[in-house]
Symmetry: C2
Subunit: 671 residues, 2 copies
């Protein structure tokens, strides 16, 4: 919806007039109902229209240092508003999510908020892992931002493999203190957001040693900087790690310890404890940590959907306005969205945005059920939940990053400009492939679960819901009845996934039988294992997209349900054709049958074509969230491009000083 | 080879010690012999060790304006050196290529030289399209850099579709001048490198009107800025377009004309002419322009190989130094290159770098032969050459960009840092997908040729060498003898490509028979057409990699030839498995046969593993060309990361001013 009344580009207006469904109905469904829509709009108004939170010039013109300083300025304004909302009791979890992670937060500080980790890691870790006494001591100070914290886990030498962390905390019973040290250069903490120059406290993960014994990784609250001067505390070596592909104002830092002493009660002791004499008391269960990792990965699935939503909105609107390359030589140049090759770039990204969002919501519910069962002491579905969250995180992040780049490239040279906002969207989206568990490692974790499941099935055991299909495939042996229906494609995906698991299992077993230990064998079968996990996740996505959209269609207008079914069909056909090699290995399809799938995909593209702009309008991204010359609601692309170019500091003066300094002497040297 | 004597990381040294071949032999072959190697080293020494051409701090810390100013400073130093070399007669074409486009040039000004277009477009266009008199007038001034030019073709509204350009040049016979105008906002020139604030002249492509008639696009030399003050000339609206994903110091500009008059003789008239009275004289042939486009595209193939070479060098060296995630729980953490999944990320990129380079060289020879024939008036091979250069440009640029990202992601979080240099490599590599003809448009141009060829073959006509296989496939109908040999994989690629062409042709014909005109039908078949062109290019790459490596093996040591054959096998198996869906559509392969290909690919990875570091060493990138904390020759990754982080201007002071300005007031607000 437009931010203010302005002239709308006629080409894009025509698209809106010709849509076959009501965009507002789409939006209300998409955001979750009237009430949520109102709250969303109110929050957007409060933050996006605050003049203090607007950029004077595009931040891509700033130096790294200026970018950080501007980031802190805005971050404190946002946090101040949050503090007020909290004092008034208006701070729901959705508000934090929107302002710190979501589309709204990244509209406000597009290269990342240096205070985010304070809210999403520092405070929750104290809540989750501190005793009641520790919570009393730290939480209100943290909530009120009298102290600002971060979460220091990753080190220069170790990220995904946590057990390899090197930072030590040695307990000294004489003073009842822990002594923190970074024994090597690779032991330096490296990456925590806000650590560089922003936070004055951190939860530090370190290897605990007490009474000469090692007790694994434990969390310690450490003061990093003086509360009044902000100077680093004694023994603390701290700074920022430097510029990055994206998330440029997050202030990721490094941190080294040299005999830094903290009181015993600075170890968060809800789980493990160290008694005053140095006795270690082991935790009853470590499952809660497991839960946090799943929580974050499940949340990331929805973030990937938003990234695809933004990228496809920008590219689709631009493709409605841009005219180029005649199709019919007797007619004017068409909107580039009329080129079928362009449709194949854009529309599958729209479909994935929708499928990922629905799957994210579905898995979110599943996660809540599983943690509910967990609290009852029922751990049955935990491995299943862990497995599906790992592979979905990997697949959705990889596809979202690739899809955002496809959208950028579909906008030609203009997509390459920072003002298109594609570079920032990609920088954010591709980071998800690495953080919270590197994607290949994630797939291998899922695969480990799948081969166990396969063995269970072989031995006649019962399987839980998300892997039930593996048993069915073993029993069926061949996939006989492919009829091209949507359900048949979903079933075929499962059959293919089951067979990929079979192949991984067989090669793993063969490798073991050749004398390799299970770990070596798993490494030698790494490629097959990741492929199996990939197909498992894709089969799950196919099924959840199918189930969710079929359900939704019962409760929306016929017009909207038609559109959603087009989206579903495109999603399934495109997913299948992108993996057609796997299908053909296990399912006997003729050239004609594959050709029919291709032709149906083209028919889907043609049906979606007249609704494409209206669908992305339905995602309801505020212009400031898109922050794109190419994607603005009014479609005045070229005018916006000019407007932004004119803001370049280089364009403020007709002649840059480098002319007199370098160019003129050089040009005149020969005269 | 190391820039200076320093401690070498023992893990990377061990790799070098264990290689089965001589790296120096690889390098001499790779760069083209002893003499070229010496010249390369001398040029590198002269430029890379010039202290004036080194960065004081990493340029990622600079603001956009500072980055430009630093770019101009270095560009004039480089051009001064070139001027001296030219005066001494030492300026061969290789020197220009290396300094302005190649790995050396991008090491000197890593975000792009604002003077490049002066050398690679402005000067050559005057040489190629100016009359002798015009060359006398402009060339020596241009060569001596008394004037600095650029090439202004692309407009805001039109890039790839040249005929759509809107800038007008109206001839006024009264004054014998052309009057240039930008009739709309979309008519503004947009993108030319160096146009923003650097060049004072341009070759401007504009629609010629004379005597009330339109005569297509013609080139005009236009003065943009005053030679002494650098102020824009009257009627010239000029500036830069703003920040971009990459090539950040190229100073891409915009340019609008309002009744700008230039003398008649400023139209470059080697081809078309306008006589004093306004009479238009048409050119004899427009093939020479065709030639320039092919020239650039052929050159780009080699650039894509260099991008992959750099990215794979960085990721491979890092993977030898980085240790993480145990394979065997009883052993220390392995070098991450020992993870098979990591090998599948890296080694195919190395293989592609080699295959693309060899194909680039091969096509370069082919191009020279074709232009030689052209000058004899023989146009026979021109369409074939055009077709192959278009699809190779598209495939190699897309694969190089994707491969560079795969390498980055294989380096985890550290790859995300600018100091890894991956973001810059990707920014450069992905730009090639768009410039010099957008990739989808390129594939469609190749496809147009292929369907014509197919029709010729159907009608029993003779085919030229690069498409001969299409006729063979038509005759054979089925691919009967797949035996898994390398030659068999190459032949299978051709068979698959031919069948993709058949499908595109059939659907195109069907579409026409349903009443669509040829252009509309081509649009409706766009997806099939691009797929056919893609497979055609991949079949060509497979054949040329096969032929070239088999040839090379006759002239190198047995040890090196073994390595190159491993590379060839990996390249072919990996290419085939990445397109296995297409293979299975047309060639009857069992699950076991596909599985055997997968197992052989894994065996290739294992054979390449001990030689990987030595192979990328063989590419012989100077440390400054890689400019990467992760990829330096000595392997001291973590020390370098620290060194670069310490250079951050934010790390120069322990407390940033934003603490007093924003953070402290915010934290103390509640107290």
């Amino acid at each position: 919806m437009p931010s203010s009344v302005q002239k709308i580009n006629p080409d894009i207006q025509k698209e809106r007039n010709n849509a076959t469904f009501n965009t507002q109905e789409f939006t209300l469904w998409w955001v979750g109902g009237e009430q949520r829509y109102k709250e969303k709009k109110a929050l957007e108004k409060d933050f996006l229209e605050d003049p203090e939170l607007m950029d004077k010039i595009p931040i891509s013109y700033l130096s790294h240092k200026e970018l950080y300083e501007e980031g802190v300025r805005k971050a404190t304004i946002i946090s101040n508003k949050i503090r007020v909302m909290r004092q008034e009791g208006n701070d729901g979890i959705d508000t934090y999510t929107a302002l710190l992670g979501g589309s709204l937060g990244s509209a406000l500080i597009k290269e990342g908020n240096p205070l985010t980790l304070h809210y999403v890691m520092f405070v929750p870790t104290i809540m989750g892992q501190g005793t009641v006494d520790q919570q009393v001591e730290w939480l209100s100070k943290a909530w009120d931002c009298e102290i600002i914290g971060t979460y220091a886990q990753t080190e220069m030498g170790h990220g995904t493999f946590l057990r390899g962390l090197e930072t030590r905390a040695d307990y000294d019973p004489k003073t009842q203190e822990f002594i923190l040290n970074s024994p090597t250069i690779t032991a330096y903490k490296w990456w925590p957001g806000g650590l560089g120059h922003t936070a004055n406290h951190a939860v530090v993960m370190a290897q605990l040693y007490t009474k000469g014994q090692h007790h694994g990784i434990q969390p310690f609250i450490v003061q990093l900087r003086d509360e009044n001067t902000h100077m680093p505390m004694p023994g603390i070596d701290i700074g920022e790690i430097g510029t990055k592909l994206g998330m440029k104002s997050v202030n990721n830092g490094y941190l080294g310890f040299k005999n830094v002493r903290v009181p015993r009660m600075n170890m968060l002791m809800k789980n493990s404890q160290v008694l005053p004499d140095g006795t270690f008391v082991a935790p009853k269960s470590s499952l809660l940590t497991y839960g946090t990792m799943m929580f974050v990965r499940v949340a990331l699935i929805r973030d990937t959907a938003m990234a695809l939503g933004k990228a496809s909105t920008i590219a689709t609107r631009y493709s409605a306005v841009r005219r180029q390359s005649p199709i019919d030589p007797n007619e004017p140049e068409p909107q580039i969205m009329d080129h079928v090759t362009q449709q194949l770039k854009l529309f599958p990204q729209i479909a994935k945005a929708i499928a990922f969002k629905l799957t994210g919501d579905y898995v979110w519910t599943m996660y809540n059920n599983v943690t509910g069962e967990l609290e009852q002491g029922n751990l049955d579905r935990l491995p299943e939940m862990h497995a599906i969250s790992c592979c979905l995180k990997a697949i959705c992040s990889a596809d979202a990053a690739a899809g955002a780049e496809t959208c950028r490239l579909a906008c030609g040279g203009h997509g390459y400009m920072d003002a298109s906002n594609f570079p920032t969207i990609y920088g954010m989206a591709t980071a998800v492939c690495t953080y919270e568990g590197e994607n290949t490692v994630m797939l291998l974790q899922t695969a480990r679960y799948l081969v166990k499941v396969y063995e269970t099935a072989l031995n006649g055991g019962k399987l839980v819901p998300t892997v039930q299909y593996i048993k069915e495939a073993i029993d069926a042996k061949v996939f006989a009845n492919f009829d091209g229906s949507l359900l048949s494609i979903v079933k075929a995906f499962q059959f293919v996934a089951a067979n990929k698991v079979r192949i991984a299992y067989d090669r793993l077993e063969r490798s073991k039988s050749q004398g390799h230990g299970p770990e070596k064998a798993a490494n030698l079968t790494g490629i097959e294992l990741t492929q199996a996990a990939d197909l498992h996740g894709r089969a799950f996505l196919a099924l959840s997209a199918y189930t969710e959209i079929k359900n939704i269609c019962k409760n929306v207008s016929m017009a909207l349900s038609k559109v959603l079914l087009d989206i579903l069909e495109l999603y399934l056909l495109d997913s299948c054709l992108n993996r057609i090699g796997d299908f053909l290995m296990f399912i006997d399809l003729s050239e004609k049958e594959v050709g029919d799938l291709e032709i149906r995909r083209e028919a889907c593209l043609a049906r979606i074509r007249p609704n494409a702009v209206a669908i992305v309008d339905g995602f309801d991204f505020h212009d400031r969230m898109l922050d794109s010359t190419l994607g603005c609601y009014d479609g005045n692309v070229y005018e916006k491009m000019f407007e932004v170019a004119k803001m370049s500091p280089l364009n403020r003066e007709p002649v840059n000083k480098s002319f007199d300094a370098y160019l003129k002497p050089f040009m005149k040297a020969n005269l």
